[in-house]
């Protein structure tokens, strides 16, 4: 157990959650709850992996993964925005659809080795003691993209005009409509953005953090954790990023607990009987529940909450939000 390794690995796996959760924040901020993150991630992971294999270029794979996630999310957009279907059920069916497509198209990809996203050190910054090795060396380029992306997303949402339109559509679409903002247009756009980022998160797994295609084990529920993280982060991209990193680190820490024979001077029960590892594998999901309960209580106390129009279809000329 080495603190540097735990922090380093946490940043890498946290990047997956960061992309997926910020994508979901964009969609939910516009009023569209998309529970299909797991399906879009899996499709993105498959699409990125197979494209990289076919073209020999991981970056092309990354772009195709984002497009795959984005296009799949448009199915959810059409059904919920135009047909005003229930967003929960539609999101669930998107998960089934994405998973099914990924499994069918990903047949036979297991065990292949396509090019992956390069791992680099940042010059100078990587020389800083402790912080350098943790933050700026031996990371996939995508991890560095994540560092920049989260503050940019926050700036976009809170400080720019399109960001304000986005929030307006999610809080009070009828008011946004009277200002001449296209409610449907904004919702389609950010649903698509959310899908692209979920696809990117998937490809971050299959082309970078743990390269490979292991069918549904590739994402193993991380899409759902990302959806939970959005609530915990109270729809704030910066909080989502920190939440993602923290989660990644806790995960790694929990896994590493199994290593040493002695823990604080006592025989390590996890080392003695490896079956106790099942309880460790439960921990990410237990932690998500705890984080959600904690986050929900804080949100109720501070009267912070979901975008007011989240999950509510907008019909022009009808009474509603």
């Amino acid at each position: 157990m080495n603190i540097e390794i735990i922090l380093h690995a946490g940043l890498a796996t946290g990047t997956i959650l960061l992309f997926a959760a910020i994508g979901e924040i964009f969609a939910e901020r516009s009023g569209i709850l998309n529970l299909g993150v797991e399906g879009m991630m899996l499709l993105g992971a498959m699409a990125g992996f197979s494209t990289s294999l076919a073209t020999g270029n991981a970056w092309v794979g990354l772009i195709v993964a984002m497009l795959a996630g984005g296009i799949l999310s448009l199915a959810h957009g059409l059904v919920t925005i135009h047909f005003q279907a229930d967003q929960v059920v539609s999101g669930l069916s998107l998960t089934f659809l994405g998973t099914g497509l990924a499994l069918v198209l990903g047949e036979g990809l297991t065990g292949q080795h396509p090019p992956t996203i390069p791992i680099v050190d940042i010059p100078l910054l990587s020389q800083i003691p402790f912080l350098g090795p943790v933050l700026f060396s031996e990371h996939s380029l995508l991890v560095y993209v994540g560092y920049i992306f989260a503050p940019m997303a926050a700036y976009y949402v809170y400080k720019t005009r399109p960001g304000m339109h986005l929030r307006a559509v999610g809080e009070k679409p009828s008011a946004a409509d009277t200002l001449g903002i296209s409610v449907y247009g904004v919702r389609y756009f950010y649903t698509f953005v959310g899908g692209m980022l979920a696809g990117l998160a998937g490809a971050t797994i299959s082309l970078s953090v743990s390269p490979g295609w292991y069918s549904t084990q590739t994402t193993s529920g991380q899409g759902w954790i990302a959806v939970g993280l959005v609530i915990f982060a109270q729809w704030n991209p910066i909080r989502a990023a920190f939440g993602g990193y923290l989660f990644g680190m806790l995960r790694r820490f929990i896994l590493d607990l199994q290593g040493p024979a002695l823990l604080f001077g006592f025989a390590n029960p996890l080392y003695v009987n490896s079956n106790y590892g099942f309880f460790l594998q439960m921990m990410p999901f237990v932690l998500t529940i705890i984080a959600l309960v904690w986050g929900s209580r804080a949100a109720t106390k501070k009267r912070l909450g979901a975008p007011a129009a989240l999950g509510v279809p907008y019909i022009r000329g009808e009474r509603g939000l």
Partner: protein
């Protein structure tokens, strides 16, 4: 390009005809089959051969139809579990976990053992397993219900997380404490804990030999009748539907939403737990790792396709039972997953037909 026609959506003012939901559901399934066929064709398969295989492998003879019914059995109960919760707009996505907890708790009767298996009559052992299964599922339903009622925590995520937790929980016991000589399963249960099967009667009736249909299907049908009665004939059902349709009105009417929320989640969990009990006592006869090929998730689609009608759940379950039976042998293996996703998408899309009339209108020719 200007088309001389345009499609307009007209909001329905009157109620839709009673037969319409059944027609749209059926239509959705057919369209979903066609789309999956196209996908299969694109990736180089032979859709018609697969379709023919699908029907012979699932409805072709009494023996395979019995297999289909065996797969439909847990789906009926899990589908009912989802339907009850969805009626109250409670998104219980955790039927899979509740199924596993039901299986675990009912196994305790045999594995601990809770009663003397030599001397206790069979019907008491079975009844005890049913009760334990329902308790296990209900506990797994209580947690998200309580958290939602008390802290307004989103039940979708909690129920999903509990699915994974239940899986690892089960794994610990079957790998560790009750592992059968190191295999990832418990030893086979004593015969007394098996649900009766039709093949048990093969001595008297030749036709039943090899028919694996078990008593669980009766549980499913009785459960459907009880749930129908609760929802359509009882005061409680009226409360559930009112809270689901209009929580504001329900609150003004003085209904106890907190209590109902927890109770409905527990009822939903108990039904899924009973499905888990029926599966291990009627089919696998031991606790092991993969007792469910995703029954809990398929149950969501079943409930929605059945438009939350308990009797329609039975019929839809048979179709999905067939999908599971055929899916085991159809390649690529994700195909039945894909088909389920497309079916659900088609169903929710077709709901627009229930709210709107769609008409084709001739545009007026401009000069």
């Amino acid at each position: 390009m200007n088309l001389p026609y345009t499609v307009i959506f007209e909001k329905r003012t009157a109620d839709y005809p009673k037969w319409l939901p059944a027609v749209t559901s059926l239509f959705s399934v057919i369209v979903a089959f066609i789309i999956s066929g196209i996908v299969l064709k694109i990736i180089g398969g032979d859709p018609l051969r697969v379709l023919k295989f699908f029907f012979t492998a699932t409805f072709g003879s009494w023996a395979v139809f019995s297999d289909t019914m065996v797969k439909a059995t847990p789906l009926i109960m899990v589908g009912l579990a989802c339907a009850v919760a969805f009626k109250m707009k409670l998104w219980n996505i955790g039927a899979e976990g509740q199924f596993y907890m039901g299986a675990f708790f009912s196994s305790l009767v045999v594995l601990v053992p809770m009663v003397n298996l030599e001397t206790t009559p069979k019907f008491i052992v079975i009844a005890l397993m049913m009760i334990m299964g329902m308790i296990g599922g209900a506990i797994w339903g209580f947690i998200p219900g309580y958290l939602k009622a008390k802290y307004q925590v989103n039940e979708i995520i909690i129920t999903l997380m509990l699915n994974y937790i239940a899986l690892y929980w089960n794994n610990f016991w079957i790998f560790d404490k009750w592992s059968d000589a190191g295999f990832q399963m418990t030893p086979q249960f004593e015969k007394i804990a098996w649900l009766p099967r039709l093949s048990d009667l093969a001595k008297e009736y030749k036709a039943f030999s090899g028919i694996t249909l078990h008593l669980g299907v009766v549980f499913g049908i009785i459960a459907a009748i009880i749930i129908w009665w609760i929802l359509e004939r009882s005061h409680w059902g009226y409360e559930i539907k009112l809270i689901g349709d209009n929580p504001q009105a329900a609150r003004y009417a003085g209904l106890n939403i907190t209590k109902n929320l927890i109770l409905v989640m527990m009822l939903s969990g108990a039904l899924a737990g009973l499905a888990g009990m029926s599966e291990i006592s009627g089919v696998v006869h031991r606790l092991q790792e993969k007792i469910s090929p995703g029954y809990g998730f398929t149950g969501i689609i079943v409930a929605w396709l059945a438009k939350l009608n308990p009797f329609a759940v039975i019929i839809v379950s048979i179709l999905f039972g067939a999908l599971i039976v055929a899916g085991r042998e159809i390649q690529p293996s994700g195909l039945s997953n894909l088909l389920q996703g497309i079916i659900l998408f088609m169903v929710i899309s077709s709901d627009v037909l229930l709210r709107y009339k769609i008409r084709l209108v001739r545009l007026e020719q401009e000069a």
